[in-house]
Symmetry: C2
Subunit: 175 residues, 2 copies
Amino acid sequence: MNGTSAPSKLKYLKYYLLGVADSEGCFCISLKKEPTTRFGFALDPMFHVTQNDAGTDVLELFKQALTCGRVMEKSGQPGTKLFMVDNRRQLVEKVIPFFDKYEPVLKAKDFALFRKIVLGLEEGKHSTLKGFEELARLSFEMNGNGKQRRYSLDQVLETIRARAGSSETIRRTPK
Amino acid sequence: MNGTSAPSKLKYLKYYLLGVADSEGCFCISLKKEPTTRFGFALDPMFHVTQNDAGTDVLELFKQALTCGRVMEKSGQPGTKLFMVDNRRQLVEKVIPFFDKYEPVLKAKDFALFRKIVLGLEEGKHSTLKGFEELARLSFEMNGNGKQRRYSLDQVLETIRARAGSSETIRRTPK
């Protein structure tokens, strides 16, 4: 850990990292327009922690403690670094079990919703209209109830229902 | 802890709080113009942690773990709460020993300077011009090197030297 004073006992280090993640981490589900997908939108989960350059060592500690993810410059923000996990397998196998054990306090609600959505994606719930709607609704209850989202819940639901309807039509047409 | 999922073991809780403090805490020395003091400026140390309303429980945990301080609304910022210790005795007897044991990582430098200044005030170093200058200089190495300060280091040094000079004159005049 390059001369810094991080807790040397792994258990203590993990509680320290929980405190940092609870403050400067984000359990995020981004909703992106993706015309090639069935419903025209994709639910993209990721976990990240932000620091300025001076905090890079702490981001490396996340990488070590969670045994996954990468440390990178934040796109378009020189001087800002991210620890980032956006691989669904690693979210399911590493990140969620970590925070099941070291439970977020400030971000308890966001983590619970994140967990539900990621595990829902893992089960393939998003492949039906009903399941996709359910996961999309949950994502709008996170991180300030979708206030910072590009698309409103209504816009998302309208798009995915229209796409579901047209694919129904396509499937029915040949009969 | 009112139904939240904070670490139940005190030792773990303290490392968790270290992580929160390392992210959202501040070891601050404010430099205020105080015309009634010997050098025209006062060095005011305080430790605080900021949260929005939803984080009030975590601020209460700081109060319990450090057995001092108070939780209050941030002046002029409704919806923002502070855990705050500005009593020098409590800083010396509670806050500094806590962070001597649970050592800041991200704020290691700020804490080391804060510690030096608070203990310097405790020894009465600020009662001589040389000592006051030394402590003021240290305060300008903290939290981004004084960039957000109202007065520059030069302005402070000029004022306190002028005051020291005039008090010398006053003391000498009667002779």
